[in-house]
């Protein structure tokens, strides 16, 4: 299955490589600054572009959470500095309700889509797929480049929405109509909402261009000997992620288009029987269904959770196995459970809608299917546990984050069993229990997967190591902080405390957690500061980090470590290596590791 022949067109560089590989060593192609760093078609550079953009977005999104945690922790205090910085949005040094809702909306949108979708799978799918399957680049490097630039365009539009006079979108990251459809119902539903929708549409285009590329690359461009069942689990996870994205993002897109029609073309897809207090007028729209949008949204929205989580699972599997010096336990079961999660991801969306008036009988199917996801999830957890059992564990920063990922996935996954059960969801829906659940399982866990990936593959990306001491500080404060922030929130949720409230002082039922809210806010700020430390470590190490001196610093089996320390466009000098075995022969027959490129010996034991 060599892919030499499939590379043509844009990849002249690569062809040159193949012909002249003896005398040239990577620095023969005349690349300008623009083609190398800006409009690059090298998957590794595009991956770094996604990562850097993702980091910038993560800082912005994280800063938003610090701002609204300030309000939640200190609802009765004023911060004059905020007024200086934010003007009318923090009049009198107090975050205004409109702005509070804009902050939570943008925090959600940015982190779910721009950081944990584009920043996570954009980075690692681009970086790892060609390197780990043994390909010189993506199936279409040009489309791949477009994928990044559509993301960039989406980012620009989303950023610009922060500066419109009526403020950015503020109807929650889910943007339920009619609130999001009517400018008269909320300031944020004016120009800010249009920009939000357009940015998200661009984002969908980016995801589709990327996803189609990932799938076709994995299916068609594996090197000789790299059968599907020899792929590292990272690739399997990224493959299913791409499939999920391709099948579900278009549905979201259609939902957004209908919303745009309702906003500007006078249609009534989502609108019916509305009288607005702000204008004292009844709208002409009749017969629409606000619930239709929720179905369209969650048809993406739920798979989106797995689009975020699967790459983290894949990377954690790979990193746990490598640093346990032991094969991943139950490789086929891991693939099967990824597949089961992928299929089930499409069949559970309505569990977000148990209290919308959904037919209870229909709801019962969604309960069953939702709780069914716990089975493949449990398989994965037990397989990870067995992978580290009787291993020889090296606690590299990547390994620590992978272990943290498993811990968080267990904690957050178990609370999913509460929420997926419609009976409990009646009480817990839209409370802090939900906030705690999805932040742990989708937010922090995926971030841990991402950090694990960054620490593990940074040497491959930049030929240098991140500073270990900073990495350990980063890991420990983030892990402890994440639990301190989100664990107590479960209790607030059990008390029925609703999310998206900026001040609980008017409520006798929810006001007993003032001290806790303050505590959570303080921890949030500390954790945020430590993330900045990581960002600093990232950029510092990029230029000044300890150099990688060996080709395979982690003693890893996968193909990316058979390239040069700083691979050029085309990845391998000379022939692409042939693969003879699966990726997890660690500790076999008394050998520490056996690279995928090593032929199976005659006297080797079978597994």
């Amino acid at each position: 299955m060599s892919n030499e022949a499939t590379l043509y067109g844009h990849s002249e560089v690569v062809t040159t490589h193949d012909v002249h590989h003896d005398e040239h060593h990577g620095h023969h192609h005349k690349e300008t600054f623009i083609t190398k760093y800006v409009f690059s078609q090298d998957h590794k550079m595009i991956a770094k572009q996604f990562l850097l953009t993702g980091i910038i977005w993560a800082i912005i999104g994280g800063l938003f959470s610090v701002l609204f945690r300030l309000q939640l922790g200190y609802p009765d205090q004023t911060f004059p500095i905020l007024e200086e910085l934010l003007g009318k949005w923090a009049a009198g040094g107090k975050i205004q309700p409109e702005f509070y809702y804009a902050l939570v909306t943008m925090h959600g949108t940015v982190l779910v889509f721009f950081v944990l979708t584009a920043g996570l799978s954009g980075t690692f799918a681009n970086f790892l797929i060609p390197l780990q399957i043994g390909a010189r680049d993506m199936a279409s490097p040009f489309m791949n480049m477009l994928s990044y630039w559509f993301f960039f365009l989406a980012s620009i539009i989303m950023v610009s929405s922060l500066f419109v006079q009526t403020g950015p979108a503020s109807g929650g990251w889910t943007s339920y109509p009619p609130l999001s459809a009517l400018g008269d119902a909320s300031e944020g539903s004016k120009a800010g909402m249009d920009l939000w929708l357009v940015a998200m549409a661009m984002f969908v285009v980016s995801t589709l261009l990327g996803g189609l590329n990932y799938v076709s690359t994995i299916l068609n461009m594996r090197t000789k000997g790299m059968s599907m069942t020899r792929l590292p689990l990272t690739i399997w996870a990224l493959f299913f992620t791409a499939v999920l994205g391709i099948l579900s993002f278009p549905v979201l897109f259609s939902g957004f288009i209908l919303l745009l029609f309702d906003r500007h073309a006078g249609t009534s897809f989502y609108l019916s029987d509305i009288f607005l207090a702000s204008t004292q007028k009844a709208l002409p729209n009749e017969g629409g269904s606000a619930i239709l949008y929720q179905h369209l949204f969650w048809f993406l929205g739920h798979p989106e959770v797995y689009i975020i989580l699967l790459p983290a699972m894949g990377m954690a599997s790979e990193i746990l196995s490598t640093n346990s010096r032991k094969p991943i336990f139950g490789y086929m079961a891991m693939i099967a459970s990824l597949f089961a999660i992928t299929v089930l991801a499409f069949l559970v969306w309505a569990h977000h809608m148990f209290v919308t008036g959904l037919n209870p009988f229909l709801g019962s199917f969604f309960v069953l299917l939702t709780l069914l996801i716990a089975v493949p999830s449990a398989i994965k957890v037990f397989n990870w546990l067995t992978t580290i059992w009787r291993g020889n564990l090296r606690f590299t920063p990547g390994m620590l984050f992978a272990l943290g990922f498993v811990s968080l996935f267990i904690s957050g996954g178990l609370t999913g069993i509460f929420l997926g059960n419609s009976t409990l969801d009646i009480h817990l829906h839209d409370t802090y229990f939900v906030v705690a659940h999805f932040h742990i399982v989708m937010g922090v866990a995926s971030f841990f997967g991402m950090f694990a990936g960054i620490y593990h593959w940074f040497p491959k990306m930049y030929g240098r190591y991140l500073n270990n001491t900073l990495a350990f500080i980063h890991f420990w404060i983030t892990l402890v902080g994440a639990y301190l922030i989100f664990w107590p929130m479960h209790y607030e949720g059990l008390a029925g405390m609703p999310r998206r409230y900026l001040d609980f002082s008017g409520w006798a039922s929810f006001n007993q957690f003032g001290g806790l809210n303050r505590f959570i806010s303080i921890v949030t700020m500390i954790v945020f500061a430590v993330q900045l430390l990581f960002v600093f470590n990232f950029f510092y190490s990029m230029f000044k980090g300890r150099r990688v001196t060996s080709q395979n610093p982690w003693g890893s089996n996968t193909l990316e470590w058979t390239t040069q320390i700083n691979p050029g466009h085309g990845n391998w000098e000379g022939e692409i290596p042939e693969v003879h075995r699966w990726a997890y022969d660690y500790g076999k027959d008394g050998r520490d590791f056996i690279s995928q490129t090593e032929p199976v010996g005659a006297d080797e034991s079978k597994h």
Binding site: Y101, G171, V367, S422, H427
Partner: protein, 352 residues
């Protein structure tokens, strides 16, 4: 000024941490990479174990701290079912949580790198894999079984004798409507809404059934131990009728009425005693993002005895009468039943 100070301290902290980190890198070069690795590995291995132990103590401590603040006794029959389900789920997931977290961190600590140990080549074991497919499947079947059993009870049809009340959400408040003596809600149409003319729900006055409908923003009055069916509407955007003490919740969707039913168990007065809080009120929260006033969209539920309820209802003027005061039947002298008399007396005392 203090902000600048904080920023300065932060920066200083950053620089200190960074210098230490850089120095540690030099030290590791001096000591040799292998030795540094082994030292770091031991420290992290120990920390992982410490994190697990302190973490589990923390979980226990957190529970002790907050268990008194989370769930008072459920104030409705459905709430009791939901609480039972909650405890079943907590018990089951709690066991899994403790076991898996202990295994994870204990394995990490126990099998940390050692020169002497060789990793055990153990790629798969079908029996184990079947075991942890089947056991979770059984556990989940139990949870689904209990869950759906309660779910159908809660969402099933309300008893025939249930009181019917209509609640409508709007930015940012709640409107309550009672059908009046005829027990039939009059027809309404949203384009008839006219707050200037006190018709906040858009009732159609041509419909006789609407004439005795009582519309109020004051509170949702319910009778204790009597099932109530609530028809939920919204006038503008999606809201959610959240009744935390009753553990009930249902979205209010414009154009699509939804329903819920339950039986309140304690009157507001009883709850005042139970909680020891003389100001106790059942609060209605909006649980679906509805705009800038979402966090303040509060309503009150008053659970009262049947007699108090009848008295209260009798005192209420139908919306129709408020709009057309000249058509007030109570203004006419022909009154026979006692509650109505009470209402008239009350009105007199108010007007005096």
């Amino acid at each position: 000024m203090s902000t600048l100070l904080i920023i300065a301290i932060l920066l200083l902290g950053f620089i200190v941490v960074f210098q230490i980190a850089k120095a540690s890198e030099y030290v590791s070069v001096l000591k040799g990479e292998k030795k540094t690795f082994e030292q770091n590995n031991r420290i992290n291995g120990f920390l992982l174990l410490a994190f697990m132990i302190l973490g589990l103590i923390g979980v226990y401590w957190c529970n002790e701290l907050f268990k008194g603040r989370i769930l008072g006794e459920a104030a409705s029959d459905h709430g009791e079912k939901i609480d039972t389900m909650l405890y079943i789920t907590i018990a089951l997931t709690g066991v899994v949580f403790v076991i898996t977290q202990i295994l994870l961190f204990y394995f990490a600590f126990k099998y940390q790198h050692s020169e002497k140990r060789k990793a055990y080549y153990f790629p798969h074991d079908n029996r184990l894999e079947v075991l942890w497919t089947v056991v979770p499947a059984i556990a989940l079947t139990i949870l689904v079984g209990f869950g759906l059993f309660y779910w159908f009870k809660i969402t099933g049809d309300p008893p025939k004798d249930a009181t019917v009340v209509e609640v409508t959400g709007k930015q940012f408040g709640w409107v309550f409507r009672y059908p009046g003596k005829d027990k039939v809600f009059g027809k309404k149409y949203y384009k008839n809404i006219d707050e200037g003319k006190s018709n906040q729900l858009g009732l159609i006055w041509d419909d006789q059934a609407a004439h005795d409908d009582v519309v109020t923003n004051e509170a949702l009055y319910l009778v204790v131990n009597k099932p109530v069916k609530i028809i939920i509407n919204s006038r503008d955007v999606v809201h959610d009728l959240g009744l935390v003490h009753f553990r009930m919740k249902m979205d209010a969707v414009p154009g699509t009425p939804t329903t819920m039913w339950f039986t309140p168990k304690f009157t507001t007065a009883e709850m005042k005693e139970k909680t020891g809080n003389p100001d106790f009120e059942y609060e209605i929260s909006c649980d679906q993002m509805c705009g800038k006033g979402h966090y303040s969209m509060k309503g009150i539920v008053k659970v009262v005895s049947a007699a108090e309820y009848a008295l209260w209802l009798a005192k209420q003027k139908p919306n129709y009468v408020m709009v057309f005061p000249d058509k007030d039947p109570a203004a006419k002298p022909a009154v026979t039943d006692s509650t109505a008399t009470a209402a008239v007396d009350n009105k007199k005392s108010l007007s005096n």
